[in-house]
């Protein structure tokens, strides 16, 4: 869906991207991570055909950003880290404008606006002026404007910045729903914990270059990583788990095991029952939330 080849971008005073190449497969959520000033925002703007590269190519859905920027604009949504809203317009008019500006016919714009508002939980505030919304609700409205035309690619720059925990959780659920609906998402952040809930791939950028040279698969969303902890040491824990169909052990000692397994709740429940039935004193069982962080540090430590 996104194919970047040897991308170079320069500001008058600095080279911001230096030979970036990457691929993003369709219907995934890719984290774009790196320290402040690494080039994340510049890369996103190049992907959005908002900046013309000095050298190299960016293909979005098969279209070159240099040759067909407007066609690409019609196919993607981009939410910058600092965005504005028309404070005097109501939510309905903001979304109607966004829909019409993205080429949706007047007759269909109303329905598109309603659908986008419903997706972000703003359906009951359609007549509220954007300027009267709280920060979290403004963020939702901004995302709704970005997705109102059902883009194939969605680029989000620090989307959770400044959101409270509940709003972040809602955002995670929304992004996963958009991915399940067929969108390809790239989400930039320098806070890894923010991305743990929904990203399956990761691109690490530092000093304008991709660390490791390519996107890293951090987890399979259908087969998350789980961590089980048992109270009493058992040397046969690894053998027991390895013998289970569909379970792949990543790390194991006598007290803990990290493994990938299906997301299916009833199958997981059966695994817990089997562990207890086999005499393992299970003190905790849950999804590992450090996959992204582990992958990040594994990559950046490489020479």
């Amino acid at each position: 869906m996104i194919d970047v080849d040897d991308l170079v971008y320069e500001y008058p005073s600095a080279r911001a991207l230096d030979g970036v190449s990457l691929k993003v497969v369709p219907q995934t959520i890719t984290a774009l991570v790196g320290p402040n000033g690494a080039g994340k925002t510049t890369l996103l703007r190049c992907l959005a055909a908002l900046e013309a590269p000095y050298a190299g190519h960016v293909l979005i859905d098969g279209l070159d950003t240099a040759g067909a920027p407007r066609e690409i604009h019609a196919r993607l949504g981009y939410l910058p880290d600092f965005y504005g809203l028309y404070d005097e317009l109501s939510v309905r008019r903001s979304l109607l404008y966004a829909a019409r500006a993205h080429g949706i016919a007047p007759a269909a714009a109303g329905a598109a606006a309603e659908k986008a508002a419903a997706r972000v939980g703003l359906a009951d505030r359609m007549e509220t002026a954007a300027g009267q919304l709280s920060r979290g609700l403004r963020q939702r409205l901004a995302i709704a404007q970005t997705i109102v035309h059902e883009p194939r690619v969605l680029l989000l720059d620090e989307p959770a910045a400044g959101l409270d925990p509940q709003a972040r959780r809602d955002l995670s659920a929304l992004l996963v729903a958009l991915k399940d609906g067929g969108m390809t998402l790239v989400v930039s952040s320098h806070i890894l914990a923010e991305l743990e809930d929904y990203c399956s791939e990761m691109i690490i950028i530092e000093g304008g270059r991709i660390v490791g040279g390519k996107a890293v698969k951090v987890r399979d969303v259908e087969r998350p990583r789980y961590l089980v902890e048992i109270a009493t040491a058992r040397s046969d824990l690894k053998d027991f788990l390895t013998a289970r169909a569909g379970l792949d052990v990543i790390e194991c000692d006598q007290h803990h095991a990290l493994f990938t397994f299906t997301r299916n709740a009833s199958v997981r429940a059966k695994l817990i029952r089997d562990l207890i039935a086999a005499g393992f004193e299970v003190s905790s069982f849950g999804e590992s939330t450090k996959a992204l962080e582990d992958a990040y540090f594994a990559q950046v430590r490489q020479p």
Binding site: P12, L50, P69, Y83
Partner: protein, 459 residues
């Protein structure tokens, strides 16, 4: 309806604002009526209110149409829309000023009713065209100035917006002044006598008709300029043909006024062809200065241009040429044609020819200076510094040299006859080429990822 225009209608034409405008204008007309028409009467008041609302206030709103979006961080969303550049351009130009046109339409209704009653329908129709044109051209000029500035920088202070507005006001005043020259009642601003005809390319034209057509054409060119700048903002590429067409048009248009120079002593004895070439070359030189000041001088772009040329991608190279570059080329071409023509038809004009050739050298020096000053990685106010240096070169240094009685050294600063003639020519081109080499060297400096700069292997 154009979505950008629709959005502006939602924001600008709220019922409360419309009622306020109607009420205020009604009060103003009432005040004018009660004053007994001692000054200008209702019609005169309506005319000045039209200028205040449509030209003065309208240029302000046109100047902030895009700058305001950038300031409010909504511009990225608009750039990513599917709105075509033409629709975005007129949606903003007329949308951002729709409230001004609403008030202006009320003023025009009052004003033209009076004209219709006292001067008849034809005069009312001519006035209608004039008032609409002066409104559009001044707003479009302010809008165009803001679009050109947007490509140079992203932050815009209130002072910057005021400068863009002033550009529109200058355009409006220019239109008003030129129109007034042809006013049978005489000009209010200039108090010059009216002229009934204009001589252009040796033929006589009715002044008002000529000006009306000229006004319409220049309005169209201004709109075309806005459209092309909007295309660039929307990340589309512009070919060089439209700018070249404008250069040809403006060269031909200005060259037609050779009769105006017939009494000028500095070109006494020159034939019409020489005068026309001189007019066109002077205009192109002026455009070169204007565009090199206005356009962004980005050394990354210049390096990119160099790479396109070296890899023989001529289409991309020509498409990436900036307006000042083609204007400079037009100046050189026209001046060369003038020099050849003078050499063949007026060999006794050797001194004038030397001055013309020296002027080209100084033009090269000056545009290179702008590129040099702006190509520094850290130089944010390079244009201002370059302008300061030019003031020093053209005003301060000559004044000092003159004061010291060293008039022979004036040829170091600007085109001036010298003895021997070749000396002035040599000095001008030595300065021009030195500055050009310096500018090219600085523009070819590469950035490394850490932000430090290093010389290109090619440089």
């Amino acid at each position: 309806m154009n979505p950008e225009f629709q959005r502006n209608l939602w924001l600008e034409l709220a019922p409360r604002r419309m009622i306020l405008m109607v009420a205020l204008l009604a009060l103003a007309f009432l005040a004018a009526a009660l004053s007994g028409g001692k000054d200008y009467g209702i019609a005169g008041g309506a005319e000045w209110l039209f200028y205040a609302i449509v030209v003065v206030w309208g240029t302000r709103n046109a100047a902030t149409a895009v700058v305001g979006e950038i300031r409010d961080r909504t511009w990225d969303m608009q750039l990513l829309s599917s709105i075509a550049p033409g629709a975005m351009m007129w949606g903003k130009l007329f949308g951002a000023t729709i409230y001004n046109w609403f008030g202006g339409a009320i003023c025009l209704g009052v004003l033209l009713s009076d004209t219709f009653v006292h001067k008849g329908a034809p005069q009312a129709a001519i006035d209608l065209v004039f008032y609409i044109a002066i409104g559009i051209i001044s707003q479009a000029a302010a809008f165009l100035a803001s679009l050109v500035a947007v490509r140079r920088r992203q932050s815009h202070s209130r002072l910057d917006v005021f400068v863009y507005q002033v550009v529109g006001l200058i355009a409006g005043v220019a239109v008003y002044s030129i129109w007034s020259i042809a006013d049978p009642a005489g000009s209010i601003l200039t108090h010059k006598p009216a002229s009934d005809f204009v001589i252009w390319w040796g033929r006589s034209f009715d002044t008002r008709g000529f000006l009306l057509v000229s006004l319409a054409i220049f309005t169209a060119w201004t709109i075309v300029g806005c459209y092309r700048e909007m295309r660039l903002e929307l990340k589309m590429r512009n070919g060089p043909l439209v700018w070249l067409a404008f250069l040809v048009f403006i060269g031909v248009y200005v060259a037609g006024f050779d009769a105006w120079l017939s009494n000028d002593k500095s070109v006494a004895g020159w034939d019409a062809v020489s005068l026309r070439l001189a007019l066109a070359a002077t205009l192109y030189a002026g455009l070169t200065y204007l565009m090199v000041i206005l356009e962004p001088k980005d050394r990354v772009h210049y390096r990119w241009l160099g790479s396109q040329l070296s890899s023989a991608r001529l289409g991309a190279f020509l498409g990436g040429l900036q307006a000042w570059m083609t204007a400079y080329a037009a100046t050189v071409l026209c001046s060369a044609a003038l020099l050849v023509w003078l050499h063949l038809n007026r060999p006794q004009s050797l001194e004038q020819s030397a001055v013309i050739a020296a002027a080209l050298g100084f033009l090269t020096r000056d545009v290179s200076l702008f590129v040099f000053m702006r190509s520094s990685p850290r130089r944010r106010r390079g244009d201002l510094a370059a302008l300061g240096i030019l003031v020093g070169l053209y005003v301060l240094a000559p004044a000092i040299v003159n004061g010291l009685g060293l008039e022979n050294l004036l040829m170091l600063f600007y085109p001036k006859p010298s003895a021997p003639l070749w000396m002035g020519l040599l000095v001008a081109w030595a300065e021009g080429l030195t500055m050009a080499v310096l500018a090219l060297s600085r523009a070819s400096i590469r950035n490394n990822p850490a932000g430090r700069s290093q010389p290109s292997p090619a440089s």
